[in-house]
């Protein structure tokens, strides 16, 4: 199978706002349940171990006409909660049995309560995570939170989630994480062979497919991409930062690359790479998930940096590891975490002579010319004067 064929399948999944693939998975067995989640991270292993399908909801993108959702939000609130409500009210998510709202910002947090009011009877959980990274403080709290989630899903499914099932799920997600990282590493190594739009669509597919199917898709893509013969361009290597929640339209990603940039790392759909190392499959699975979260997780603006010296270090490491020449801060309009974080990250970049630019977008942004011009000028300036 060629990369084009694989990406065509991914694009069809991406365009399908009725989540047909996830519906079909559920319809195959009357006992099956689907648990949706929002960015940035939930431990999908627990959902998987319950025999359920984790379904990532990243808003409605640029193809969804938001009619009802706008009536729930003021003009100064980002777009992802509006389009998510639209997905809910338009019955596109009527097959979903539960919804998790991770701790990311006040808007998503409040959306958890709105969901409770709007969809009574559905399993709804605000999924809190520790901002204290000591094993005996934040770790204990988090293990108990994970166990509450486990109990909630057990109640919903009517069956116990055993430790063995959890270990097996951790194993399959370890493989998924490794494959996702392999795709990212390949793009960083040979970005002319692995366009960012491909990587993006591959990761989006992982939000709606069973993880086993996604693993096979990633393996197939990696094998097919090796055979791609594409010309290497004199593009500027950039890291994208700030796009961890509301997603940019696909055209924006394509526009950045068309303007002369190779995206060599990003923070889109971090759920696939949130835990940066394999989670141990021996011992207590909940403790293992908690330890991985505390000590091996990625960094975003939704996370507290315990030490001032740590601020921006994850981003600088992304730049170093991927030999990036600059950073593009691309945040959704009205995204509190990303926009409040940006001045601190920009200072870090300046201190380390990493060039950067900033712009905002919405998931339904349609006008790409200004982005292309800005990113193109940035790439030119790096190539000509850096």
């Amino acid at each position: 199978m060629s990369t084009a064929e694989i990406i065509a399948r991914c694009e069809a999944l991406y365009d399908d706002l009725d989540f047909t693939a996830s519906r079909q998975w559920k319809e195959a067995d009357p006992d099956r349940k689907v648990i949706a989640y929002m960015p940035v991270y939930v431990p999908r292993e627990i959902i998987h171990a319950a025999g359920m399908l984790p379904l990532g909801i990243m808003g409605g993108g640029d193809q969804l006409e938001v009619i009802h959702g706008d009536a729930y939000y003021q003009s100064y609130i980002c777009r992802i909660p509006r389009s998510t409500i639209e997905l809910g009210l338009s019955k596109r998510m009527d097959f979903v049995d539960g919804m998790l709202f991770p701790s990311i910002c006040d808007v998503i947090r409040n959306l958890s309560g709105m969901w409770k009011l709007m969809f009574p009877g559905k399993y709804v959980r605000y999924f809190d995570v520790p901002q204290n990274y000591r094993d005996d403080v934040g770790g204990n709290y988090y293990v108990n939170e994970l166990n509450e989630l486990r109990e909630g899903l057990e109640e919903l499914s009517g069956r116990k989630i055993t430790d063995d099932a959890l270990r097996a799920s951790i194993e399959v997600y370890n493989e998924n994480r490794q494959l996702a990282m392999d795709v990212y590493a390949m793009r960083s190594r040979e970005p002319w062979k692995v366009p960012s739009a491909d990587v993006y669509l591959l990761m989006r597919a992982g939000l709606v497919l069973p993880v086993e199917e996604h693993n096979q898709m990633l393996r197939d893509y990696l094998a097919a991409a090796e055979k791609v013969d594409a010309p290497k361009r004199d593009n500027c290597r950039v890291v994208i930062n700030g796009s961890f929640c509301e997603q940019p339209p696909l055209n924006l990603i394509k526009s950045i690359e068309l303007s002369g940039c190779y995206i060599v790392d990003d923070d889109y759909m971090l759920v696939h790479r949130w835990l940066q190392k394999p989670v141990s499959t021996s011992g207590d699975p909940m403790e293992n998930l908690a330890l991985a979260f505390l000590h091996e997780s990625a960094s975003t603006a939704a996370k507290y940096d315990t030490q001032e010296e740590d601020k921006g270090m994850f981003l600088l490491e992304q730049v170093r590891k991927n030999a990036a020449e600059g950073v593009i801060f691309a945040a959704p309009s009205f995204c509190d975490p990303a926009l409040l974080e940006r001045p601190m990250l920009a200072d870090r970049c300046s201190e380390h002579n990493v060039p950067y630019i900033s712009f905002k977008y919405a998931e339904n942004s349609g006008q790409m010319q200004p982005i292309r011009e800005q990113a193109g000028t940035f790439a030119d300036s790096i190539k000509l004067w850096s």
Partner: protein, 432 residues
């Protein structure tokens, strides 16, 4: 203009007392270089003033500094300074006013510069922005910073896990940092004594807030309410001064009630209460007087508000408990209004409308504050559905004068009052 106000403005003893208390704290803050006292900056929701006092530190609240600058019409320029230095126009204006204030020398309301804080206590209660705000301050001040994470009541309840987590952080993170910075050893009995004072003041505050159930209400629980919560939400909870202040305030309100008086306004006593409202959301500070006047000119009195609960839901029964000093601080932080989930907030507002015999709900939606604002349009519909009372929605900002449109707010309020009139006349016709 339908309602008369008695234009003789008399400063009551409680007002003078509060003025002295606030001025005293700013003097204390601005003279720490001479006195050797240490400053800790923290937030109003989840404010641990009793604990701070145990370490002889002075409490500085950037939110109230932003409010002071808003009331003095200085925040607009500060916000624009922050935006020029790279802070987004989309984010919280308290944060930008604070950062802009720093750039202009951190001048306190007494005209003196405020020294940099010795410590930041990031009480992360009910507002995600708090976390980024103090990371930004730490980025500037490079001072010791301790995070107290307060889990959100996502399921509308405080679990043992949440409470244990907060207590453990207090014991193992917060108190050790205080001891290290202040050089003072923690004394739990001292904390108990302060907590006893807190509970006394809280009793009187609740009595004052609940006086709004009377007809006419002797208080305005929003515009007046923000003054009433001043001491207990800021640097005075747990002090003898706060006990005295709330004793005085209660006595004054008791007298107003006995005399059948309405609330005090900047233009004197309001006579002829016409509309009784419950208000959700913080006020606008840059045009506070103008905003208030739009209400009292029409005889509108706010009988209950949610903003006066951001620093504690005392009217729902919570009291600081000296018998469980750290547990009670955890309960306090976990229970603040914006740490409640949306269904809880709706239930509380519904209860206020019923208990205070209000004519309806007014939401002042704040551009800066997603913690309050996200979900308010749904809250409005829910309240209308549950109570049958009309609700209205206005939009302003905390301290950014660019987002206060007097004409728009006035139009909306006038329409809303007409709606209440129509509802009443409809009800009268139905009864006839």
């Amino acid at each position: 203009m339908n309602t008369k106000v008695d234009t003789e403005v008399i400063k009551e003893p409680s007002m003078l007392k509060q003025k002295d208390m606030i001025a005293g704290n700013y003097d204390r803050l601005t003279s720490t270089r001479e006195s050797g006292e240490k400053i800790v900056s923290t937030f109003v929701p989840g404010n641990l003033n009793e604990l701070i006092m145990c370490f002889d530190m002075v409490n500085n609240l950037p939110e109230t500094n932003a409010i002071q600058n808003g009331l003095r019409k200085q925040s607009g320029a500060m916000i624009m300074d922050a935006e020029k230095s790279g802070h987004s126009e989309d984010v919280c204006t308290y944060v930008k006013a604070d950062i802009g204030m720093m750039g202009r020398g951190n001048i306190a309301p007494n005209g003196k510069p405020m020294p940099a804080p010795d410590m930041l206590l990031l009480s992360y209660t009910g507002c995600f922005t708090f976390m980024k705000w103090f990371e930004l301050l730490r980025h500037e001040y490079k001072c010791p910073t301790v995070m107290l994470q307060i889990p959100y009541q996502g399921d509308g309840k405080i679990t043992k896990n949440m409470r244990d987590f907060v207590v453990k952080q207090l014991k193992e993170e917060v108190i050790p940092m205080f001891e290290q910075v202040s050089g003072v050893k923690f004394d739990i009995d001292r904390l108990r004594e302060y907590l006893k004072n807190s509970a006394k003041a809280e009793d009187d505050l609740v009595w004052v807030l609940e006086s709004g159930k009377n007809k006419p209400s002797p208080i305005d629980a929003y515009f007046g309410g923000v003054y009433y919560i001043g001491p207990i939400f800021t640097a005075f909870r747990g002090t003898e001064d706060a006990v005295e202040y709330y004793g005085l305030l209660r006595k004054e309100v008791e007298e107003r009630l006995a005399a059948g008086k309405g609330p005090i306004t900047p233009e004197g006593d309001l006579q002829g209460e016409k509309y009784r409202l419950v208000v959700e959301g913080p006020p606008n500070w840059t045009s506070f007087r103008e905003f208030w006047k739009l209400f009292y000119d029409e005889g509108a009195v706010v009988v209950a508000s949610s903003y006066t609960k951001v620093g504690g839901l005392y009217d729902q029964g919570f009291r600081h408990d000296p018998n469980d000093p750290l547990g009670t601080l955890a309960d306090y932080c976990l229970g603040c209004y914006t740490n409640n989930n949306l269904p809880q907030r709706v239930e509380l507002l519904e209860k206020y409308i019923n208990d205070y015999q209000a004519d309806g709900l007014l939401i002042n939606s704040i551009k800066s504050c997603n913690s309050f604002s996200a979900g308010q349009l749904l809250m409005m519909r829910e309240i209308e559905k549950r109570t049958g009372k009309p609700a209205a929605f206005i939009e302003t900002d905390l301290v950014d004068p660019r987002y206060f449109s007097h004409a728009n707010v006035k139009n909306r309020l006038e329409s809303y009052f007409q709606m209440i009139d129509q509802k009443r006349s409809g009800a009268s016709l139905a009864a006839a």
